[in-house]
């Protein structure tokens, strides 16, 4: 969150992230029109995760957060989300009767 306001202007970085996010959107639409067999979902989710990471790190200032607890909260949120998705899917994926 703290950009140590004086220092050098962060504007160039913001514009670069913005361009990368727009490029990622174009790329994900293009990739969806290709037949990548089982990898379409992986590519789409990979691009989405890169975009989300860029937003969190640079637009939401996690990268420059002076408070280490912020990073802990972010990691904890991701951990519990993956726990929810991961354990649910291991259950459904191993049900022989469905």
């Amino acid at each position: 969150m703290s950009e140590h306001s004086s220092a050098k202007s962060p504007l160039k970085g913001y514009i670069a992230v913005w361009i990368a996010l727009l490029a990622g959107t174009g790329l994900t639409v293009y990739a969806a029109t290709l037949d990548l067999a089982p990898y379409n979902a992986a590519v789409a989710l990979g691009i989405a995760t890169i975009k989300a990471t860029l937003v969190a790190l640079f637009f939401m200032h996690v990268w420059h957060a002076s408070e280490k607890l912020t990073k802990l909260v972010v990691i904890a949120a991701l951990f519990f989300l993956l726990l929810l998705l991961g354990l649910t899917m291991t259950d459904y994926a191993t049900r022989l009767w469905s």
Binding site: F59, V73, F80, L85
Partner: protein
Amino acid sequence: MTRHARRRSQLPDSSAATGLHAEEHNPALLHHFAEPQQQRDAASLGMWVFLATEVMFFGGLFCAYLVYRRLYFGDFAAASKTINMGLGATNTAVLICSSLTVVLAVWAAQTARRTLLIVSLIITMLLGVVFLGIKGIEYVEKFEEHHVPGASFSFDHVAIPGHPGQYADPHHAQLFFSLYFVMTGLHALHMIIGLGIFLWLLTMAWKGRFTPEWHTPVEIGGLYWHFVDIVWIYLFPLLYLIDRHP
């Protein structure tokens, strides 16, 4: 705590009135914080904890989506193909641009650029309205096509992509559209709340309440807006792009 901090800092006299360290007390700093940086960190940490609960809130829906997408992949792919991909992609770009203007607004508040702050907040809100408008056009299309779950739902003889001669099961397609409307609807509700927050930020900015020392609402309002953007970054490929190749 953050709400308290906001209210108190608008009343610079309240701490001086107690007569405790009145000599060198920073009016923007609450008593129980050692320095402004610590106060800002505490406010943003509180927002992050709230966003963590939001991750779990949307996480349940993403989980339901994953379970049924895996079970009924062909039906989900057929249903996904009927949503307007161009509108979805445009909306993704609109939200990304609004995230840029939010980050500009935060920077403007940090560096005491009042005009830039006000202009950035206004553009952000306009982009938010454009997003909701495009979403509305999309919903109208779905109503016209009878793809809204309910009594008039119809999804007959829609081919499953990659499986010629096979048609999607309308019940499973209805499940996809239920998830589509609940997830995008809940996201749109967050956008509407975000617009309300930004309207409030705009009036505060107009009155000149924000200073480089104290602009906590702009920072944490911005965190909220970016979070809503991140949710959309995942919703777009998951709902619109399941199986688009010809």
